[in-house]
C-alpha cells in the first residue's frame, strides 16, 4: 500500500480532480453560504447610494480569470442596475473588454436599462496607472468615445462626470496588475471617493490591510465572495453562476485537502520505514 502511494501515478490524481470538478457541475447541490462582513460591506455601500448616482465598475481581468470573477461583476452590476444607478464600465486589460461588454449587455437586458442613458462601456486605452491619473484630471478627454464609437460629450450617463472626483462609488474587480492597487493609489485616494474591491481567491489576502484601514469599504474574494453577493442581492437561482462554481470548488478543495493528508501520512510512514 505504502509502495503504491509513494509511486502514485499523477494521472490518477488528474483523473480524480477532473471527476471532482465535473460531477458537481452536472449535478449541483447548491448549499447556501453565510455572508461575511467583507462582502456585506460592498452591498451596504451600494445600497446606500441614491438613484442616478455614478458607479464606476472596473473589470481588470482576462478570460483566464473570467470564470472566477465574472459572477461577482455581474452580481454588482445587477444590484447597480436594479437600483437605477448610472454605471460606467471600463477595463485596464485589453482582453477583458469583451467580457465586460457581454456582462453589461446581459444585465442591462435583464433589468431593462438603456445604453448611453443608464450605462456605458468605454474602450481599451493603454497607459495603466497613467490612464487612471489622467481620468482624475479629465475623464472625457481620456474617453472621447464609447466602445461603439459614440461621442461621450453629451451622453446622459456621463452627465457631470468631468473627472474621477465626480464618481460616487467604484467597484474594482481585478485578477492582477494593473488592478486594485492602481485604482486605490491613483484613483480613490487621490480623488477622494469610496471604493470596494473584488479579487481572485489567491489575490484576496493581499487586500485585507486596506479593508482594515477603511481605504476599501468591502472585499469580495473569489468564487465564495461572488456566491455570497449573489445570495445577498437575491439573484434568481438559474443566474447564480458563482453558486454553481462553488459546488465544484467544494468537492475539489475537499479532495486537495485529502491528498495533503494522505501525502503527509505517506511521507511520515516512508520516513519511519527508512524508504
Amino acid at each position: 500500500m505504502l509502495e503504491f502511494l509513494v509511486k502514485l501515478d499523477r494521472r490518477l490524481i488528474y483523473l480524480a480532480i477532473g471527476i471532482a470538478a465535473l460531477v458537481p457541475l452536472l449535478f449541483p447541490f447548491g448549499l447556501p453560504v453565510q455572508p461575511t462582513p467583507e462582502v456585506q460591506g460592498v452591498y451596504d455601500k451600494m445600497d446606500s447610494l441614491p438613484p442616478r448616482s455614478v458607479l464606476l465598475l472596473t473589470m481588470d481581468f482576462d478570460p483566464a480569470s473570467a470564470p472566477e470573477l465574472t459572477p461577482m461583476a455581474k452580481a454588482a452590476l445587477r444590484q447597480a442596475m436594479r437600483k437605477n444607478l448610472r454605471v460606467i464600465g471600463l477595463t485596464l486589460w485589453q482582453t477583458g473588454l469583451g467580457i465586460m461588454d457581454g456582462a453589461f449587455r446581459e444585465i442591462a437586458e435583464e433589468t431593462k436599462r438603456e445604453e448611453g442613458k443608464d450605462w456605458v462601456v468605454l474602450p481599451y486605452v493603454p497607459g495603466q496607472a497613467a490612464l487612471v491619473l489622467k481620468l482624475g484630471q479629465d475623464f472625457k478627454g481620456a474617453y472621447p468615445q464609447d466602445i461603439r464609437d459614440k461621442s461621450t460629450a453629451d451622453m446622459e450617463v456621463l452627465k457631470g462626470v468631468e473627472s474621477l472626483k465626480n464618481i460616487d462609488f467604484q467597484v474594482e474587480i481585478a485578477a492582477g496588475v494593473p488592478g486594485i492597487g492602481s485604482w486605490l493609489v491613483y484613483g480613490s485616494q487621490k480623488c477622494n471617493y469610496p471604493m470596494a474591491a473584488g479579487a481572485t481567491s489567491v489575490g484576496t489576502p493581499e487586500w485585507y490591510p486596506y479593508l482594515q484601514s477603511k481605504q476599501i469599504v468591502g472585499l469580495m474574494g473569489g468564487m465564495r465572495g461572488a456566491a455570497e453577493y449573489e445570495q445577498i442581492i437575491d439573484t434568481p437561482l438559474k443566474s447564480r453562476l458563482a453558486q454553481k462554481g462553488l459546488d465544484a470548488l467544494t468537492v475539489t478543495s475537499c479532495l486537495i485537502i485529502l491528498l495533503v493528508v494522505v501525502g503527509n501520512i505517506t511521507y511520515f510512514m516512508s520516513k519511519k520505514s527508512g524508504k
Partner: protein, 219 residues
C-alpha cells in the same frame, strides 16, 4: 554615448524629480504638468504595444527561417497574429461583429480559460507530493491553509453548525475571518512595507543614475 547614456540619464533625472515634487505641490501648473505627462505616458504605451508586436515578429521569423525545433509553433503565432489583426481591422475592432467576436469568444476565451484551469491539476498533484509538514513553520502554514480552505466551504459551515460549535464557540466564518484579519493582515502589511521601501530605494537609484539596467545590456 550622449544619446545612448547621458541624455536618457538626464531625462530620467529631470522627470523623476519633477514627478516627486509635483505630488506635493497643489498648484494649477503642477496639475497641468501631471496631465501633460500622463498624456505622454499613454502615447508612449501605445507605441510600446507596436514595439512588442515588431519584437515578437522578429523573434518568430528568425525561428522559422532557421527551422529551429518547434518552428511550427512560430507559424501558428504568425497565423494567429496576422489573422486577428486583419479581421480586427476589417471589423473595426468591434467584438459584437461575427468574425472578430468569434475569434474572441471561441478561440481566445477558451484557450486562456483552459490554460488557467490546468493549474487545478498541478496544484492537486503538488499538494500530494510537496505540501509536507517537514518543520514547525511548514506545519503551521499547512494547518492555517487547510483551515482557511475548508472554512470557506459551505458544507463545512453546515458540519460546524451541526456539531454545535457555533453556539458553543464561534461561527466558522468568524474563525476563518480572524485568521484573515489578524495573522494574515499583519504579515501582508509587513510585506507591503518591505516592498514599498524597496520600490522607493530602487526608484531613487534609477532617478540618480545608480541603477542603469534600463539603458540596455552594455550598461
Amino acid at each position: 554615448m550622449f544619446f545612448r547614456r547621458s541624455l536618457p540619464l538626464f531625462v530620467c533625472f529631470v522627470f523623476g524629480v519633477a514627478m516627486i515634487v509635483q505630488a506635493y505641490v497643489p498648484t494649477k501648473m503642477s496639475q497641468d504638468l501631471l496631465e501633460g505627462l500622463s498624456n505622454w505616458v499613454i502615447i508612449i504605451s501605445s507605441f510600446a504595444v507596436g514595439l512588442g508586436v515588431v519584437s515578437l515578429c522578429r523573434l518568430h521569423w528568425g525561428k522559422m527561417r532557421r527551422l529551429q525545433p518547434g518552428w511550427g509553433f512560430s507559424v501558428v503565432t504568425y497565423v494567429g497574429l496576422i489573422g486577428t489583426l486583419v479581421i480586427g481591422v476589417l471589423d473595426g475592432g468591434d467584438l459584437s461583429k461575427a468574425r472578430f467576436g468569434w475569434i474572441y469568444w471561441h478561440l481566445l476565451f477558451p484557450l486562456q480559460a483552459t490554460m488557467f484551469s490546468i493549474l487545478a491539476f498541478y496544484v492537486a498533484s503538488a499538494a500530494f507530493r510537496a505540501f509536507r509538514a517537514r518543520s514547525f513553520e511548514a506545519t503551521l502554514l499547512l494547518l492555517a491553509a487547510s483551515v482557511v480552505i475548508l472554512g470557506r466551504l459551505p458544507v463545512m459551515e453546515k458540519l460546524w453548525d451541526g456539531a454545535g460549535l457555533t453556539t458553543k464557540w464561534i461561527p466558522l466564518k468568524d474563525f476563518v475571518g480572524w485568521i484573515m484579519k489578524q495573522p494574515n493582515l499583519a504579515a501582508q502589511r509587513a510585506i507591503t512595507f518591505g516592498l514599498t521601501l524597496g520600490v522607493i530605494a530602487t526608484s531613487l537609484k534609477i532617478i540618480f543614475g545608480i541603477e542603469r539596467a534600463y539603458l540596455g545590456s552594455k550598461e
